[in-house]
């Protein structure tokens, strides 16, 4: 420190290097998280209201309203996925709300015409447990009393039962299965075809055990709302997740880690390339509702949001502030522009995929090995994600130098290092 003369200090203050404060960038990042999880909570409560209304008086119209509320709830939630890999608090929690893929036979009836296991498998002996149809059953050698279906039963006993990750008893995709049912036709334009009468009273009930199915749907939805409540609060003022980011000297690296890991290993790899390589509709993220194109689109948008420091909420409210892009532009404007362009390019590819899906070519149809044009749409989006990962790595390099310059006492002892 002793070498840092007044002149050097003034020079440092005068240079634009310090114009963007890293703390402000982290605050924007936390603000967008808070807005995104709060929107996720609000839309999940709307879903809860719709499901309560449906279960109180089941009808085709109310069933459809519940499905629409589920689709709307996915819009903000998927945009928060970029927070997962950079924040342990989110990653530890995420499995409860968005776990996938699932052996849906754990929850309810499945038929052999679908691609879900209809009997226990070596990896998952409980793959055909069917909790809706069974009040008492044996799980991992222990007898379970499931006469009452409660959030606690789902969360503590059934979720990831027997250590099998495919035992997804809670979260969006469990609810999705209960609202849509199995997607039977591989590579065709139909989503799951569960009839609303699966929840009807008395003789009108189809699929058996309608009251228990309703209790399951209710419990899973209530659990989703309480889980989202926890995460929205964690990002609020003084919340655990926000404080962890703001108090982290390497907070910026969390943003980059989240962006890179979601882009590459998770989205490009696990969720998209794998499905294409296996031609397997079970590899669709939202296979029951045929909503996978939106999952991918909003995941990519979430990455772009945190980079540009701007999020458009479900009610139109814009949350924005000093961004990672601003910070990077000071370190290396060319890298900042290249990353911005790469994210824009991916978003355009995702838009093309979404448009084709909305115009009738569902995501599972794109996975059909005979559908070369559909496969090319998915591949172009994957290629965009891989290309943007390379730019994110370049951003890490560009900012790494800078971060050290700001933090390392060595560099303060050697003011020249700051300007290298």
């Amino acid at each position: 420190m002793h070498k840092l003369t007044a002149a050097a200090l003034c020079a440092a203050l005068a240079t634009p290097v310090l114009a963007v404060d890293r703390a402000d960038v982290l605050a924007t990042y936390a603000d967008i998280a808070q807005a995104g999880y709060t929107d996720s909570l609000t839309t999940a409560k709307t879903l809860q209201t719709a499901i309560d209304a449906f279960l109180a008086e089941p009808s085709a119209e109310r069933f459809q309203a519940a499905r629409e509320a589920w689709l709307a709830a996915r819009v903000p939630y998927q945009q928060t996925e970029v927070y997962r890999f950079g924040n342990p608090i989110v990653d530890d929690w995420e499995g409860r709300v968005n776990a996938w893929p699932l052996d849906e036979g754990l929850i309810d009836y499945v038929v052999a015409a679908g691609s879900a296991p209809t009997e226990g498998t070596e990896a998952n002996p409980a793959a055909n447990l069917n909790v809706v149809a069974n009040e008492v059953f044996t799980l991992s050698g222990e007898e379970v009393d499931a006469r009452e279906i409660t959030p606690a039963l789902l969360e503590e006993t059934l979720h990831e039962a027997g250590g099998a990750e495919a035992n997804v008893a809670t979260g969006y995709h469990a609810i999705e299965f209960l609202l849509w049912g199995q997607d039977i036709g591989a590579y065709d334009a139909t989503a799951g075809q569960r009839p609303w009468t699966d929840y009807a009273a008395g003789d009108a009930c189809t699929g058996g055990n309608c009251d228990r199915r309703g209790a399951y749907l209710k419990a899973a939805t209530d659990l989703l709302v309480s889980d989202l409540e926890y995460m929205a609060n964690a990002w609020g003022q003084g919340g655990e997740a926000r404080e962890a980011v703001l108090g982290d000297e390497d907070g910026v690296s969390r943003i980059l880690t989240g962006m890179g890991s979601l882009s590459y290993g998770e989205q490009a790899g696990e969720r998209m390339q794998l499905g294409l390589l296996l031609n397997d509709p079970e590899e669709e993220h939202s296979c029951f509702a045929d909503n996978t194109h939106n999952d991918h689109f909003y995941d990519a948008l979430g990455i772009r949001n945190v980079y540009n420091g701007s999020y458009v909420g479900v009610d139109g409210t814009v949350t924005s502030g000093p961004s990672l892009r601003d910070l990077l532009a000071e370190a290396d404007p060319a890298v900042a522009d290249a990353l911005g362009a790469a994210l824009d390019h991916t978003q355009m590819e995702m838009t093309e995929l979404k448009l084709a899906a909305e115009a009738g070519m569902h995501y599972d149809m794109m996975l059909d090995p005979a559908n070369e044009a559909g496969g090319a749409l998915i591949q172009a989006a994957i290629d965009g994600l891989i290309a943007q990962t390379r730019e994110i790595e370049r951003a890490v390099t560009a900012l790494g130098v800078d971060a050290i310059a700001f933090e390392g006492s060595d560099s303060l002892d050697d003011p020249d290092a700051v300007f290298q």
Binding site: F85, G86, N87, P88, D91, P101, S115, T121, E122, A123, G162, G163, E165, A166, D250, S253, R254, L256, T257, G260, S261, S263, Y264, G265, E266, Q267, G269, E270, R271, Q273, L274, L276, L277, L278, N279, D280, E282, P369, I386, T389, R390, I392, E393, R394, V396, T397, G400, V401, A403, I404, G408, D410, S411
Partner: protein, 321 residues
């Protein structure tokens, strides 16, 4: 393992090293990557040329599996393109996609066993995983399918090799050259090789050893890589040997190579070809000890080689879940 591992560590790196070394990318390519890719192409061609008898196919299969273990850490470029690495071996296979894919191919019958049709089939129905089932569980029947899959595997391996020799290696040798958007600086090429090293060590610890280990209460011997062929242990030895070779070429790394030499010796002594031993306490202890040794070698490599080169590992394909 999933969050913050590489990037965080990376921010601290540069401060430690005044003048980073430059890795010898040419040496890594000429003495490690290219010869090992050639070996994979040759070993898979040998398998494809073997007569359709289990006795002839089994040793050839083991040779191909070993050759793959020696390059499976090189997930970048030609192996990533078109999902070729997964078409060589789709593993881990948590939902038994191999059985489903193979069943579908069989149902479609011999007319679907053309090179074009197999190249379009599910990757789980192709490559070493599908061939293992046919060769070790069904005496290589139906023969036409076994041969078609072996030909397809050899073609995939040749395509990976050709990708390296026909352009990708040159991109690494000439970072920032005209039209080279893949590697803009020498540091990016070095970081890519360093990422391969680190990814490979994680693959051994978390997957090749971690999958069969499962948990103490729930060991999963049948989750071991190619356990039907009994080559799981040999693949760990091959992989560690290749990673030790790469480590030595990237930077003077006496601590890393010593740690890897010890791990290789430990792996070779296991005498548990398919990791069936993970189900009993003493066998399990030995595999766990090896896993610990590999994790330690990884940490040493990150410190010693990453520090010497002043590069950081990039994102890897196992970052998802």
């Amino acid at each position: 393992m999933r969050y913050l591992p590489t990037v965080l560590a990376a921010f601290a790196l540069g401060a430690l090293t005044a003048g980073p070394l430059a890795a010898d990318v040419d040496a890594a390519l000429d003495e490690h990557v290219l010869p090992r890719m050639e070996r994979l192409a040759e070993a898979t061609a040998t398998l494809a040329d073997a007569p359709c008898e289990a006795d002839a196919l089994r040793p050839a299969f083991a040779g191909a599996a070993a050759a793959w273990a020696g390059v499976s850490h090189l997930t970048l470029g030609p192996a990533e393109e078109s999902g070729r690495a997964r078409a060589v071996l789709f593993w881990p296979d948590e939902r038994d996609s191999t059985a489903r894919g193979l069943r579908l191919l069989e149902q479609q019958g011999p007319e679907a066993w053309t090179p074009e049709a197999i190249a379009r089939a599910s990757v789980a129905a192709r490559g070493l995983g599908a061939l293992e089932r046919l060769i070790f569980e069904r005496d290589a029947a139906p023969c036409a399918l076994t041969l078609a899959l072996a030909d397809d595997l050899a073609a995939t391996a040749a395509a990976i090799r050709d990708g390296w020799t026909g352009g990708f290696a040159d991109l690494m040798r000439d970072p920032g050259g005209p039209g080279n958007t893949r590697f803009l600086t020498a540091g990016e090429a070095e970081a890519a090789l360093f990422t391969s090293l680190m990814t490979g060590l994680e693959l051994v610890a978390d997957q090749r050893l971690g999958r069969p280990l499962g948990s103490f209460d729930d060991p999963r011997p049948r989750a071991a890589e190619l356990w039907r062929a009994g080559v799981s242990q040999a693949m760990v030895v091959e992989s560690l040997t290749a990673l030790r070779e790469l480590a030595g070429l990237l930077a003077p790394a006496p601590r890393t190579t010593a740690a890897l030499d010890a791990a290789i010796a430990q792996a070779a002594r296991l005498d548990d070809p398919a990791f069936a031993g993970v189900a009993d306490p003493s066998g399990r202890f030995r595999v766990e000890a090896l896993q610990t040794a590999v994790c330690e070698a990884r940490n040493i490599a990150g410190d010693e080689i990453g520090g010497a080169l002043g590069v950081r590992a990039g994102f890897n394909s196992a970052d998802g879940d």
